[in-house]
């Protein structure tokens, strides 16, 4: 590295302007570095949007084909847990946004508190999700060898759901497609939950670094870009919630 002519050349060395330690050499200014990182993060998030978009598209196509099965499958989801989880995630997005603000205004304690709250809400979301998953396991609604169509060929056998929706029994050849509904349900909410788990893990590490004062010295890029990731995960849920829980409640 040091044998490059540019470094030996004194004039070139003099061009080396003063900059904070967190600014990389190949950027003119800290602002340019921040804009570039922000741009890169958005490119990553757009690939994620395309990925989840594929799942959403598959869901909409199969819902269109096997409409009665998808409606009956949707009726197995709990409005209470779904709405509560939406609220939890929106509030966690708010605490994360406040965390970014604390980092920008160099409030170390505020940042730590915001990150801790975001972490708790993130874990709370996953806890509620696991309650929902447990219900599906108990009812044999997890696709695979133990899958059961009983709730759909004989809805009266599932009194809790029946008293709310009064679904008519599905013909056996339509009822088998509820397994496809639950495959997509687990794929979409599972991929979303995986993103949450990754987010929660990164958050846990960030709390330690924030306590050491890593993000409150003017270099907020990491907190800011993590915030973008967290809000993106929130947006995915904002669409999963109506598609899975809300739009099939009637008929």
């Amino acid at each position: 590295m040091s044998d490059s002519p540019a470094v030996i050349n004194g004039a070139a060395a003099a061009e080396h302007h003063e900059h904070p330690p967190y600014q990389r050499h190949h950027f003119e200014t800290v602002e340019q570095q921040a804009d570039t990182t922000n741009f890169a993060m958005w490119i990553f998030l757009l690939t994620e949007i395309m990925f989840f978009g594929g799942l959403f598209t598959a869901y909409l196509i199969f819902r269109n084909w096997y409409y009665p099965a998808f409606v009956a499958g949707s009726h197995q989801l709990s409005m209470l847990w779904g709405t509560l989880n939406t609220t939890v995630l929106i509030v966690s997005s708010f605490t994360m946004a406040m965390g970014v603000w604390c980092a920008e205004t160099r409030r170390k304690n505020g940042l730590v508190w915001c990150l801790v709250l975001t972490l708790i809400l993130g874990i709370g979301f996953l806890g509620i999700k696991s309650i929902e998953y447990t219900e599906k396991i108990v009812k044999h609604h997890v696709p695979g060898f133990h899958y059961s169509v009983q709730s759909f060929t004989n809805p009266v056998s599932d009194p809790e759901v029946y008293k709310e929706y009064h679904d008519n029994p599905l013909a056996p050849d339509m009822a088998v497609h509820t397994e496809l509904y639950f495959s997509l349900y687990f794929l979409m909410t599972g991929m979303h939950a995986l993103h949450m788990i990754i987010g929660v893990s990164i958050l846990a590490g960030m709390i330690f670094k924030a306590r050491a004062g890593a993000y409150t010295t003017g270099h907020v890029t990491f907190v800011e870009n993590f915030g973008l990731y967290w809000h993106f995960v929130d947006i995915i849920w904002i669409f999963l919630y109506p598609l899975l829980y809300l739009i099939s409640r009637h008929t």
Binding site: L46, I49, F94
Partner: protein
């Protein structure tokens, strides 16, 4: 080699968004969540899906503009986000309009 003028390109001042804005946004998002949950109890036929998705799009737009700071970002970021979402909509609408207008694959 021509001399590159430092700081010649469009400089972008980092803008700190006030907590008041975040509070207003989170309040709106929570109200919208309550609204979309409430509307799902009323039978509107095909409009249940339309209303639910319209509210979801509104919520997502608020998150992108304010929580994700796109409103306060560089023109480059705005262009990237806008064109990315546009491309996404083209892909999804072309695929869905093909599948929804044919009977193939059913059964």
């Amino acid at each position: 080699m021509t001399e590159v003028k430092p700081h010649s390109h469009e400089e972008h001042e980092h803008q700190v968004v006030s907590p008041k804005v975040y509070l207003a946004i989170v309040a709106t998002l929570l109200v919208a969540t309550g609204l979309t949950a409430g509307v799902s109890y009323i039978d509107l036929g095909v409009f249940n899906a339309v209303v639910a998705l319209a509210i979801a799009v509104t919520k997502a737009t608020l998150v992108i503009l304010f929580f994700m700071h796109v409103k306060y970002s560089t023109r480059l970021t705005k262009l990237v986000v806008g064109s990315g979402i546009f491309l996404f909509l083209v892909l999804i609408s072309m695929t869905l309009s093909d599948y929804f207008t044919r009977a193939w694959g059913r059964w």
